[in-house]
């Protein structure tokens, strides 16, 4: 898969993977952290979630300007990684130093966003520059698919790292994870005269109505806690908070790893780490003609308009897609059956899921007609070992294992890693037949696929009218469909930007792509506020409607977009 690619791609791949691992470790627990620490409801958590994600994806515009005009790509990327490290450490500090208040959280979120702004778009621009070399130019689309896999390998392990750290911290005090305890502790600690009265009314009419005190006592006995209820409501949230802080510290460490990779292997991308402005300055210094791409103002305008139109439309994709860390996580917690069978749990535990994936991969190698005898032997080995390890893991599970809501987030990245070769192969097959859709068409199809993903959710939510909790496979099905949509839209979009952007605005254009993501994320938070207002199926129906309209819009401007892709600048 790496044949015909420069070594610099691997540096970008691993640096990106490290950064995304930290980011998604933090994101996997972010809403739960806010709800646990500050007692936020979905709407309040949505303000922080939407605002943070807006910063993460909007500030790359600033990062792009800084790189294009002042620092160049490499220095801006390295600086961004250091800033992110500081931000994650700040975010981790309240749990460890018993600091209170939301200000430190807001400041740290801003610092992380700023660092990401310096890092993300410029790494994409630098990767695109590696393919300005005619030797590699034809592989640009594939390069971004590989680059995108790096993001998702990092994202796949992230929720497990977050869960692992949180459980480790809780386990140290003989606690186990119970998502409701922080809220119950808050109810126990502060006066709730109106809620208490209403609880009394409900108790008078229905048997078995629970009070927060009784529920907390139940958990205390389950965890063999010897102290008073006051001790419990102090110690449990503090320990959980430390667990969350530990996960944020893991994110900080992964920034350092990313920085190390990017710095040590600089020689592999150094030649591409030159902006148009730096080329001109260097040429002027040497008294030579600069080797830059010339483009008329009119051509630049045409391309910027095409980019702008794509940016507006993809904002709606990200609005829908980024419900994954927000309303879909809340759906997983509140409306999905959490006590599952041992078989279902195979897909939620890394020690069984990874061997199973290895077994499936091995089976593909074994059955593929083109495989050599050696490859078939490796495939057979993988299948046997993967299946054996998977079965061993299966035997270690409890009879009724419990799924934690954040674990659903590992499906998207793993689907990306597995589906990327299939989608790339599909496009290659279409290209050979002369039927490959243009990049803007792929983006449009991606919008309709997104709608299909939410149709799955809407159907599931409608079933909730006659049952209490859905099987986890509904959410898994949605993640699968949304992932296919993402593969049609996101790497192709980044490649489209790299192809169409006027060279003197390379960093800024990648920042613009991420800026569109920022608008989408902001909308994700805003739309998420409707979660508490409308019926669940109506919420998903709204997602379906908005994404279908966006798909129609992109097909209505297809000619403008395809013309921009076809035109070639002079060099």
């Amino acid at each position: 898969m790496l044949k015909g690619h420069p070594k610099g791609l691997l540096v970008a791949f691993f640096a990106n993977m490290g950064e995304r691992f930290g980011y998604y470790t933090m994101l996997a627990i972010f809403v739960l952290y806010l709800q646990a620490n500050f007692g936020f409801n979905a709407s309040q958590a949505g303000d922080y979630y939407g605002g943070f994600l807006f910063g993460i994806y909007f500030l790359p515009i600033l990062g792009g300007i800084i790189a294009d005009r002042f620092l160049g790509y490499g220095k801006t990327i390295a600086l961004g990684t250091i800033i992110m490290f500081v931000g994650y450490m700040l975010l981790a500090s309240p749990g460890f130093f018993a600091m209170e208040g939301k200000l430190i959280i807001i400041v740290s979120l801003f610092v992380i966003s700023l660092g990401t702004g310096f890092f993300k778009g410029n790494l994409q621009a630098l990767t695109g520059k590696l393919y300005d070399d005619p030797k590699y130019a034809a592989n640009r689309d594939n390069a971004f698919n590989i680059f995108y896999m790096g993001i998702n390998i990092g994202a796949f392990f992230a929720p497990h790292a977050a869960t692992g750290v949180v459980n480790w911290m809780l386990g140290g005090k003989n606690f186990s994870y119970e998502s409701t305890i922080p809220h119950l502790s808050n109810l126990q600690a502060t006066p709730h005269p109106f809620l208490d009265k209403m609880t009394g009314t409900l108790q008078a009419n229905f048997e078995g109505v629970q009070t927060y005190t009784a529920k907390l006592q139940h958990f205390m006995s389950e965890m063999n806690f010897g102290g008073t209820i006051q001790d419990f409501i102090t110690e449990y949230p503090t320990t959980l908070s430390k667990g969350y802080s530990g996960a944020f510290a893991v994110a900080a460490v992964s920034m350092l790893v990313s920085l190390l990779i990017f710095t040590i292997f600089r020689k592999y991308y150094k030649h591409a780490d030159v902006t148009e402005k730096q080329k001109e300055a260097q040429a002027a210094k040497e008294g030579k003609k600069a080797d830059t791409v010339k483009m008329s103002k009119e051509e630049e305008k045409k391309r910027l308009v095409a980019l702008g139109l794509v940016f507006v439309t993809v904002a709606f994709f990200w609005m829908a897609f980024h419900q994954n860390g927000f309303t879909l996580t809340i759906f997983a917690r509140d409306f999905t059956v959490s006590d599952v069978s041992k078989f279902d749990y195979l897909f939620f535990d890394l020690k069984s899921f990874l061997p199973l994936l290895a077994a499936i991969g091995g089976l593909i190698l074994l059955l593929r007609r083109k495989s050599s005898a050696k490859t078939k032997a490796i495939g057979a080995g993988l299948t046997v070992v993967g299946a054996a390890l998977g079965y061993w893991a299966y035997t270690t599970f409890d009879q009724n294992p419990t799924i934690e809501p954040q674990l659903f987030q590992h499906f998207n990245p793993i689907f990306i890693v597995f589906l990327t070769p299939l989608i790339v192969g599909f496009f290659t097959w279409l290209r050979k037949k002369g039927k490959e859709p243009s990049s803007p068409r792929k983006i449009g199809i991606g919008m309709f696929l997104t709608a299909a993903g939410f149709i799955v959710m809407m159907s599931g939510a409608l079933k909730l009218q006659s049952m209490t909790g859905l099987s986890p496979y509904w959410l898994i099905g949605t993640y699968l469909t949304l992932t296919v949509a993402e593969l049609f839209l996101s790497p192709i979009g980044i490649s489209f930007v790299a192809k169409v952007a006027p060279p003197r605005f390379s960093g800024l254009a990648q920042g613009g792509w991420l800026g569109a993501t920022a608008i989408g994320n902001l909308l994700a938070g805003l739309v998420g506020k409707l979660w508490d207002i409308v019926e669940i199926w109506q919420f998903f129906a709204l997602m379906v409607g908005l994404t279908i309209l966006s798909g129609i819009f992109i097909f209505s401007i297809m000619r403008i977009l395809e013309n921009a892709t076809k035109s070639n600048p002079e060099k």
């Binding site: 109106f194 809620l195 629970q210 009070t211 805003l526 819009f553 401007i557």
Partner: protein, 145 residues
């Protein structure tokens, strides 16, 4: 092109508008929820089978969720106080608290009488598996988030 841009801008504006929906008046929200529970009470008079019992209970859970949110919003005023503290004792003596509590109790008694009827009408179906699951949800609904 202008028309298309207007359409896409309208979509954005629509989202912004919708996200601002909902009131900031918990007592009004409670009144609305009480009316909803009153409707459910009438609906419960005609329960013929377990499916209808389930639907009534599902709707009741939805309405009680609104009640919970309204009650929590009213309680929010005391979020920085401790249970049994002098500060909270003082707050309970205030005119504002007494007035709010009076109004709350009026609505609460309406809800109480509706719940009594609903519960009685659900009695024959309380052993059904799906109804039981929904009842379990109701039992922990006020302390969930």
């Amino acid at each position: 092109m202008k028309v298309r841009l207007i359409i896409i801008s309208s979509l954005l504006a629509g989202i912004l508008f919708m996200s601002g929906c909902g009131t900031d008046n918990p007592m009004q929200d409670l009144r609305d929820a009480s009316k909803e529970i009153d409707k459910i009470e009438k609906q419960s008079e005609n329960i013929q089978n377990k499916e209808q019992a389930f639907t009534v209970l599902r709707d009741l859970n939805g309405a009680m969720k609104d009640v919970r949110e309204a009650a929590l919003a009213l309680d929010n005023k005391y979020k920085n106080m401790r249970v049994g503290s002098d500060e909270f004792k003082k707050a309970k003596q205030s005119e504002d608290f007494k007035q709010t509590m009076n109004e709350f109790e009026k609505i609460n008694s309406e809800i109480d009488s509706s719940l009594a009827v609903i519960s009685k009408n659900l009695d024959p179906y309380k052993d059904d598996e799906e109804v039981k699951k929904m009842l379990n949800k109701l039992q922990s609904l006020l302390i969930s988030r």
